[in-house]
Structures are given as C-alpha cells and as structure tokens.
C-alpha cells in the first residue's frame, strides 16, 4: 500500500447519522494503518465542489450531490461510497469518465426497507392510524369509518423486482398473501419463479394487486413511471405504497386518486421534493400514512450501510475492485486502473 488514504465524509452524516457514523468509524476504520478521514464541508448535503473533492481518495456520500462540475480536475479520488442504494444525486457517467468508482450498499438496505414496506402494508390494511386516532380521542370501534381487513389471500405487487423487491417477497412468503406480482424489464420470470412471483406488465400489476409497492431506482427511465392512468386501473380497495423515490410517481396523479377515492389509501415515505412543502395535499388526507423518508432508518440499517461502505472503500485502499460497484465500466478506464495499481504499490 502506498501513501496515506484519505476519506472525506460528507457533512450531512454529522447531523443526520452521527451516532452510527462514529460507531462504524470506530469499528471498521480506527487502527487501519495509513487511513485518515475528515469531515467534508459541503454545506449540508449540497453539491460537493471540486476544490473539496481534490484532497481525497474516497468519499462517503449520504445525500451529497456530485455532478460533472464537482469532478473538474479531480484526479486523486478513486471511489465514492454511498451509504444506501439510491444514486440519483450522483452523475454516474461523469464519475466513470473521471475514473472514479461508485459503490452502494444493497445488502444493508434490503431488509430494513422490506420491513418498512410491510409495516405500511399492515398499518394500511388494519386502518391502524384511524384506529389510534379514534382510541386516543375517546371514541371506540363503533366510531371507526372502516374496520381493518385481513391480509389472507391478498395480492402483493411490486414495481421493480431487484434487491428490495425480491427481499419483500421473501419476507412476505409466509404472511398469508395469495399472490405475488411484479414488473421489471431487467428481471426474467425464471429468476423469481422460486419466490412465487409472477412477472406481468405494469397495467396488469396495477389492475390486480391489492397492494402496489414501488421498489425501483430513480433514473431517467423511472422518473414519472407511475402515472395517473395507473391509479385509474387500481381496485378501489387497493393501497399504494412508495418507499423508493418520490419522483418515480406523478404526485398530482396520486393526490387525485386519493382525493377521489379511486384507491383505498396510500403509505408514503418519499416525496417529489424533500422535505415536502407544508401544503402537500397528502397531509390533509385521512386515508394516507406519511413518513419522513426515514421509515427504514433503523440503527442496524445505518451501521450495516456504514460497514458495507467501509468494506468497499478499504478494498479500493488495498487496490482491489470493491463490492457493490454501480459502474463496472470504470474498470476499463485507465485513470481508475492507475489509481488501483498505485494502491497496490
């Protein structure tokens, strides 16, 4: 190994996830020879500047934005390690051109997110928030506008059937659902047969599911993927759940579907803009559960994210190809090859 390996940690970690960050640094990086780290002052998760990034071999990114301008004349940087699986705030082609690897943490994320989705499914099905409100206000079950319903035999659908979608189906397998549906252009029927998932087109999924969940990345193909017309296909008794990314869904269409009772309700953890404006119509609706893009933020999620991100960074530090690589094409970029070779010293 040659030279000190410097890791920049985007400053939003210190406000949003300080405790797990300190835990992970102590557990995974403290005492590793030649590794140093320091806070990267981006100004609260804003776009990282090239001046900042030039001084590091690796960067831990939470919500930090990195675009082509951030990488201008950045030569030392070898890896951006995101804690999490979404990378919509990062310009991947620009990273690749600059010879920088991007890694994510799929193993850490899938179970906490799948459990968050199940939490919303069961809370919606049992009308739990209205039950809680009625009980707190001195009412009783006769005051409930709607009773809970049973999960037994219902159809669970997932838009996207990758890391998280498959984990959701795996955990849901013994919960009594009757049928699993998914749509995903990248996943074959053969790949998910064993999970009992039927791959269908998106229209069929919306038409036949009792719970439609969104488990896709946000990219140019998925932006606005779920539109008003899809909500029109849903059963009036069905629920819509989005814990992935707000812009995957046409928000006005969702609002209209809920307001006009095309669907029974929704569980929403993500929004077109975060934090959402105070006048988001969802906040005035009884048939919606809202959460602050944090439903999956268990302590385990953050520490597992951190461990997985550290493993990726340490692999690069040793001159090895990291796990969780988003842009494998970087392996063919000479600048990246040179950085790895230099680490192998």
């Amino acid at each position: 190994m040659s030279g000190t390996f410097r890791i920049g940690i985007s400053d939003d970690f210190y406000t949003e996830a300080s405790e797990p960050l300190q835990y992970v640094l102590a557990k995974k990086l403290a005492g590793v020879a030649g590794v140093e780290w320091e806070k990267l002052e981006t100004g609260g998760g804003r776009c990282a500047s090239a001046e900042l990034l030039r001084g590091y071999d690796a960067v831990f990114a939470l919500a930090t934005k990195i675009d082509a301008e951030s990488l201008r004349e950045v030569e030392r940087l070898a890896v951006v390690a995101r804690w999490g699986v979404g990378y919509d705030r990062i310009d991947v082609p620009a990273l690749t051109r600059a010879g920088v690897a991007l890694t994510i943490t799929p193993a850490a994320v899938r179970r906490p997110v799948a459990e968050a989705i199940l939490t919303l499914i069961f809370a919606l099905s049992k009308n739990l928030l209205q039950q809680d409100r009625v009980a707190r206000a001195g009412g009783w079950r006769g005051d409930l506008p709607r009773m809970g319903t049973s999960i037994g035999g219902r159809t669970l659908g997932s838009v996207g059937c990758g890391n998280i979608g498959q984990e959701l189906f795996r955990e849901a397998r013994s919960l009594g659902f009757g049928r699993f549906l998914a749509c995903d252009p990248n996943v074959s029927q053969e790949k998910v047969r064993e999970l009992g998932v039927e791959m269908v087109d998106m229209e069929t999924l919306f038409r036949e599911s009792d719970f439609v969940t969104v488990n896709t990345l946000l990219n140019e193909r998925t932006r606005g993927l779920v539109r008003e017309a899809h909500f029109r296909l849903m059963k009036p008794s069905a629920y819509f759940i989005n814990t992935a990314r707000g812009p995957v869904v046409e928000h006005e269409g969702l609002v209209r579907a809920l307001r006009e009772n095309w669907i029974a309700g929704a569980g929403i953890d993500v929004y077109p803009v975060e934090p959402p404006p105070a006048d988001d119509p969802l906040f005035r609706m009884d048939n919606v559960i809202v959460a602050p893009h944090a439903l999956a933020w268990t302590n385990e999620l953050m520490t597992d994210n951190g461990s997985e991100a550290c493993d990726a960074v340490l692999a690069v530090c040793r001159g090895e190809v990291p796990e969780g690589l988003v842009n494998p094409e970087v392996l063919n970029v000479e600048a990246f090859q040179t950085k790895l070779a230099r680490r192998r010293g």
Partner: protein, 313 residues
C-alpha cells in the same frame, strides 16, 4: 324441509352474507332482520324451529324461552360467548348449543403484527410530525433478527409466532401447557421476559391470569422492549405498564385491549407518544365476521347430518 329460525339479525350481518343462501338451500329459514325485543316475540319467532342461528348476544335464550320451543334441537351461536344462553336448561331439554371459536384468530394475529411493526417504526408519531411540518430522523427499531417472546400458544399465539418467524424474528414461547409438536422453542417465563425484544400476550383471562404481567414481571423485561397486547387488558397491571412506558424502561407498546373499555377520555395512554392504540378491534374484520357466519351455518348443517361440531352444551 327442516325449519331454521334466525330471530335477531339486526343490524343485518347474516342477511348480507352468502352463508344465508347456503342455509336456505338446506332448510326452510324464518329470517328476521329486527330484534325480537320481548321473550314472547322471541318464542313466537322460534316456534316449530328445529334449529336457531343466534346472531345477537342481546337475545336471551332463557329456560322459559327454550321450554316454549318443543321442536328445538340446536342453538347455533354466532360468536364465542354463551352467557345469554341457559346452557343447563338446554342440556335438560335435549338442546345442543354450538358456537364459532377461533374464527378471528387470523385477523387478531395480523393485528398484533401490525401493532408490533407500527410501534417499532413509530408510525403514528411520524405521521403526526410530518403532517405538522417536521422532518424527524432516526431511531427506528428493526425487528428482523430480534427476539419475539410469545406468551400463550392457542390458535392466536401460534399464528402470531409464525408471522414473527416470517419477518425474520427469533421466536421463543411460554405457555401453561407446552406444545412441543408446534416446533417453537419453549423457555421459562423469566427467561422469555429477560431476553425478548418484543413480548406479546395471548392468554385467556381467568382468575389465574388476571394481573399476569405485574409490576415485578414488567421490571424483568429487557430494557427497551416492546409490549403487544391483543388478548385482554387485565392480564397486565396497567398502572405499572404506564410507569414502565413513562420511565422509558419499555420502548413502547401496541395495545388493542385495556383495563376499562372504551378507553376513558383523557386516559394517560392517550397522551403517550410511544404507544399505538386500537379500540379492541383486532378481531373485527369483514373476513373474520364472514368466517364466523359461515361456521354458524356449517354447525347447523353438520348437526343435520348427525355430526355436531363446536358443541358447548
């Protein structure tokens, strides 16, 4: 055709169910969607019926009423409670009484899971805060990999234990009558309380179990644990539970049942942020109601075939 009376389907449930048509296919049904009101009207509605499907517990099937029904051979109760039927008189008069046990078990087990998940992820609290313009972070509890202690392994307890396993929890159980054939790890009660991240009660309420989770036992629970109770309120020492929640010894509770129901206005639980409450509604789903109606009708049909089921007297 044999005469079956339905004297009290008000507000109508059987009348809206496909189960009524199944009954009509096998018997001449005297169906009433009003309450009888008086014993005389009730006796009139039951006159010459061989069986009665009893929908409401306000319908008192007293010795007097039963003895005015010489043809009556079966009372099929929709529900589990039998307080409104004179079982001794029924026995003496040669009348069988059946009920519909455990039909709500799947719904109640699911409700317990919903409460456990909602407490772990603070769902009602987050919802209130986001609506109020806040954007709170962190502090969620992950259940996968944690230990679930299930107390009582009747129909509901064992179903809930399976749901816990499905989401990746390590399940330990304690029951008064161990059932090794179910395949769950059975541990001593002290052990269960000390090691479980979530404790869920599925016991019957009796003089033996009243106050089961008392102050001393609550104190032996793992710090930061969650309590789920969908069984009966008086199984738990409620003031001691309030104290444990208030002091943060327990992280939270999901409760469908209480000492006093309906929960009185201004009860301390109603102001607590770390609890999720529901109005003793876990078993009331359309699916559970229909399963019960179907069983009440099946009990009549089985009796006609000489194979009485779910007999209580």
């Amino acid at each position: 055709m044999r005469v079956v009376a339905v004297p009290d389907d008000s507000p109508a449930v059987l009348g809206l169910s496909p189960s009524l048509a199944r009954l009509r296919a096998e018997a001449s049904v005297r169906y009433h969607d009003t309450l009888p009101g008086t014993a005389d009207v009730l006796a009139e509605r039951l006159r010459d019926a061989v069986a009665v499907v009893n929908i409401r517990s306000s319908t008192n099937l007293t010795r007097e009423v039963l003895s005015h029904c010489p043809a009556l051979k079966l009372v099929s109760i929709w529900g589990t409670g039998t307080d409104h039927v004179d079982l001794e008189a029924a026995r003496e008069l040669g009348i069988r009484v059946t009920n519909t046990p455990a039909v709500a078990a799947p719904s109640i087990a699911e409700h317990a899971l919903a409460l456990m998940l909602a407490v772990a992820r603070r769902v009602p609290l987050l919802d209130r805060r986001v609506r109020a313009g806040e954007w709170p972070r962190g502090g969620m509890v992950q259940l996968q990999g944690k230990t679930l202690g299930v107390i009582g392994l009747g129909e509901i307890g064992r179903r809930f234990a399976r749901l816990g396993e499905a989401i990746g929890m390590h399940v330990v159980t304690w029951t008064m009558h161990p059932k090794p054939e179910l395949g769950f790890a059975h541990v001593a009660l002290e052990e269960l309380l000390a090691q479980s991240d979530v404790v869920s009660l599925h016991l019957r309420l009796s003089e033996q179990t009243r106050g089961f989770l008392d102050e001393a036992r609550l104190r032996t629970m793992k710090p930061g644990a969650i309590l789920v109770n969908t069984a009966r309120g008086p199984l738990v020492d409620e003031p001691a539970l309030l104290k444990a929640l208030g002091e943060g010894r327990l992280a939270g509770a999901g409760l469908d049942v209480f000492d006093v129901e309906p929960l009185p206005v201004g009860h301390p639980l109603t102001a607590m942020e770390n609890v999720v409450l529901s109005p003793h509604s876990a078993g009331i789903t359309p699916e559970a109601l229909e399963a019960g109606l179907a069983m009440a009708v099946d009990n009549v049909l089985a009796f006609f075939e000489g194979k009485a089921r779910h007999v209580v007297a």
